[in-house]
Symmetry: C2
Subunit: 583 residues, 2 copies
């Protein structure tokens, strides 16, 4: 029995429940880590696992929630503890259930929220996961995570141990967001981009309270969902936190999730083998119905997300953090001063840019230092959705490490070796990227040439295990003054990509190079491109003409309900107006 097989079956998958109650009943002293307790009393943990298998769990979870180098006292060998716990679990299940290697939070936070770096987190998780895998677990389960950056680190670490190992990540939400501000939707989108096997929510609340959050997750997730609530809300009793939702009402409430399309069910704090047994009982009369949510291409930051696609508003990607032709910005970046770049970021966000392109490429600028530093400072101030724009591999890699979400990478061209090198990086970090249909020295002017390159590159992506949902296609806005047929070809490429289900982008301003009335050309072309399905474009979001087209096409494509935004922005508009005023 392989985990991915049962995940693809049309049966529900029953996970296990809490350990705390069971271990306390067997003598776990208050304050002691269950991992350390189990090292002395392995039979207790084996029996606890066994009780879940007997109750019907098909996946049980190792007793390794805190078994990482930050939490385990330093005298313990992290690898060995994890391996041992995995072996105990495997021994308990006797092939009757699968074993998920539990990986909980480290208790440390990524800078600037805390004082560790991403690579330190990844290292710690990698050490733990190596132990779990060595002990024979069937999958990795990141549990009870509350910060998106740390959740990403678990996945990156697991991929480093074994890129093809099954993995699911579970986050816990306090009300509408996680502790550090991630929404259920933002979490799911980030995990979809990382191509995990399943996405989970656990702890914090009981089944009833988790209902709206799980509903939100199901609306965007095409990947199976695991739900593991506590046995109701916590109650203080004799100075101790207890959970009092009984097995039968727990199971009854859990049935709602099953009916909504949740594939995997289990319990967290306060749940016991009896809860799982009751749940099994009720589930036996229900048929699993796959959740068929379709989810567009999306980018995320820690607290924000943005969808790309014909059913969504076109995404304006601010182009202004780019030293090309900007003397002051170039000089500041050369001296390591980020002041003006940060200002350009703020200004573009205020103008309505949903994503900031960040390009620091200029002579004498060390991109691998400056790009991640600027990214870090932007994240600290605005938590923006970023697009890292560089041809420097190291600069991209380091930027992916400071960033707590799914940023965009600009770009991967068809140049020899580029996709092979950058593609796996984007895949492993779950970073969507711009696919640039350029190869060799000849510009592909006709749509036929461009589509041929696109098809070739997409095939290569799939061969590299890069998920389709990471691909944003640049339809190539070539200069019409030198290539008169290029704009039409670009529209055809957009139409093609839209039909094929790929989102598109454009570096708009190139099209009008060498001609008068450039803003007129750019903005008109934007309207035409949007009419053919364009999902985003890289522009100056302060351009009044661009904003006119943005708001007006949203109105015309029914993306501005009751014309609210349009009327708000344009109620006093006059022909010849050169500003777009927002009230």
């Amino acid at each position: 029995m392989k985990f991915r097989e049962i995940l693809n079956s049309d049966e529900f998958i029953l996970f296990d429940g809490g350990m705390g109650t069971l271990l306390q009943g067997q003598g776990l002293p208050p304050g002691e880590m269950p991992e350390i307790f189990a090292l002395c009393k392995p039979e207790v943990i084996v029996n606890a696992h066994l009780a879940y298998v007997q109750a019907g769990s098909k996946v049980i979870t190792t007793n390794t929630f805190g078994a990482n180098r930050f939490k385990l006292p330093s005298k313990y060998n992290v690898f060995e503890v994890n391996k041992k716990m995995a072996l105990l679990a495997k021994k308990a299940v006797q092939g009757k259930a699968l074993v998920a290697g539990s990986v909980g939070p480290t208790g440390k936070m990524l800078r600037p929220l805390g004082d560790v770096d991403f690579e330190e987190l990844v290292d710690a998780f990698e050490e733990q996961i190596r132990g779990l895998v060595a002990g024979g677990v069937d999958l990795i389960l990141g549990e009870t995570h509350f910060d998106l950056a740390e959740a990403r680190a678990v996945v990156v670490a697991a991929r480093r141990v074994d890129a093809s190992f099954p993995i699911g990540i579970s986050m816990t939400f306090e009300g509408n967001t996680s502790l550090t501000g991630t929404t259920p939707t933002g979490f799911v989108l980030t995990m979809l981009n990382m191509n995990v096997d399943f996405i989970a929510i656990n702890c914090s609340l009981g089944p009833k309270e988790l209902l709206p959050i799980v509903q939100e997750m199901l609306e965007v997730s095409s990947t199976p969902i695991l739900v593991e609530p506590n046995a109701g809300l916590p109650v203080l009793e004799d100075g101790k936190t207890v959970f009092k939702l009984e097995p039968e009402p727990f199971a009854f409430q859990m049935l709602e999730f099953a009916k909504m399309g949740v594939k995997c069910l289990g319990g967290c704090c306060g749940t016991t083998p009896q809860h799982i047994a009751s749940l099994r009982e009720l589930l036996s009369s229900l048929k699993f119905q796959k959740n068929s949510a379709h989810t567009s291409f999306a980018l995320t930051s820690r607290s924000k997300y943005v969808f790309f696609g014909f059913e969504h508003k076109p995404v304006l990607i601010g182009e202004r953090i780019n030293p090309t032709g900007k003397k002051i910005l170039t000089e500041e970046l050369q001296s390591g001063n980020l002041h003006y770049a940060l200002e350009l970021g703020e200004e573009q966000l205020e103008a309505g840019a949903k994503v900031l392109d960040v390009n620091v490429g200029a002579p004498l600028v060390k991109e691998d230092k400056i790009l991640p530093r600027l990214g870090f400072e932007l994240v600290k101030r605005f938590d923006p959705i970023l697009c890292f724009d560089s041809t420097n591999f190291l600069a991209i890699e380091k930027s992916l490490q400071i960033y707590p979400g799914s940023p965009l990478i600009n770009s991967i061209s068809g140049e020899k070796g580029r996709l092979e090198k950058l593609g796996p990086l984007c895949r492993d970090y779950g970073a969507p990227f711009i696919l640039l249909p350029l190869e060799g020295k000849k510009l592909p002017v006709t749509s036929k040439e461009r589509i041929a390159i696109i098809e070739k590159m997409i095939k290569k992506c799939l061969d590299l295990g890069i998920s389709k949902r990471l691909i944003l296609i640049d339809a190539l806005a070539l200069t019409v003054s030198s290539k008169p047929e290029a704009a039409k070809a670009c529209l055809e490429v957009i139409k093609y990509c839209t039909r094929q289900g790929f989102p598109t982008t454009l570096g708009l301003s190139n099209i009008s190079f060498g001609l008068p009335a450039r803003e007129l050309i750019n903005s008109t072309f934007l309207a035409m491109a949007i009419a053919n399905g364009l999902s985003s474009c890289i522009v100056n979001p302060n351009s009044s003409k661009i904003l006119e087209i943005f708001y007006t096409t949203n109105l015309l494509l029914n993306k501005d309900k009751q014309a609210k935004e349009f009327v708000n922005v344009f109620s006093n508009w006059q022909v010849g107006e050169s500003r777009v005023e927002k009230k």
Copy 2:
């Protein structure tokens, strides 16, 4: 043997040559009409026809070129003369060739060029054609016409006698246009709209000189072409005009036409049975290759034409001659004063409108009088391409009679009975029309509803014998403030029609009703619609925003070679500019 069968075969069709030389040799006195001469000496004409049949002609032409009420002395009965000549021809051919009933010009011109009305011409031709049909001709051949209005009258007359009777019309060109200014392309387009069986050119020049004109015709005609040149250029000899191109060189030059895709070949002045025999000889070694020109939807006036379609610039149809909301225009039209309406026409043509919509619908305005009168005055002054916009059947019919070309009819809706009534009128006059997908009281908001109505109406058109090329589809610009999904639906309808090969139009301004910044909405929607294939729109051509979109989309879709127009119009454009200056 039926004419349409041999027209659809993959063989060339040999027509006959001139009669003059033959009849003069048999005693036709100078200045006497050949028709009158033949009444006395029927055997002469029978022998002449016979000589052509023996030379290889598969279609010979009746001796009725001038046999109409305006040219025949009044003592002759037009019907009987034509019937008699047809019978003589049928007798001569003995079933070995088909007989074309020749219908030449009346020598009269339509007002204001001359002093007859369209209906007088149609009556005269109808009388003549009735005689020809009674005498048993197999097809009607309008010959040597030089005015488009008169050529149209021949077709309309023939349709009245028998709507399904085969007919071809031949025009004669002096240099680049006919005597009254029609170009070969304008002539072909008008005849394609009238759905004639073949389109011809005859007389005036020898084969060599007709070459570029025939080339032009072949480029736009998907209908078979007949070419009947003179035997070279005329030469004055002893005070007489003679044609000296000998049979063999004539035939040799004619071979060029055959190679280019001309289906039917014959001769005009100065050609003899020997010319035809030589031609037959040469043709026998050649295989007919069908000319495969594809021709877009087009409108014509006497001297102008305009194509509609994605490969052409979008056509701006000036909307301003419309009394709705215009107090002065309404009052003037009520009093029969056309001054302001004519001014609006001139002004819109100067602004770049290629077609003028003419609507005089207002209380107390007699549309059936005023619409054709205004059309007549516009034609007299500007020879514009017109769009007659009325719900009054009689007004449309009379307007079709004063107009020397293929005007647009605005519009035929899916309202019960409307297509059945107006459709055949448009068909018989070769008038393209706007198909308006409205039926019943409910507005079709979704594209699905609109497309269903369109498909139903197109089927009905075909059932009524209305050619596909007369159909211009209104994609319906409904008001987005009340129907938010309507603009998107409209774009989908445009895309659908473009895919199906139908041109489209829009009454643009309706879309923004009730919203601020209406010109911004209208112009942005125009860009989006053009990007989806819109072929034309009904607009105020004086709007600077509309013209910005017009010129910019032409540039972007590579319809403005070397960006000439764009640079000319916008070289000093500034953001916020409210005028479009043309130099």
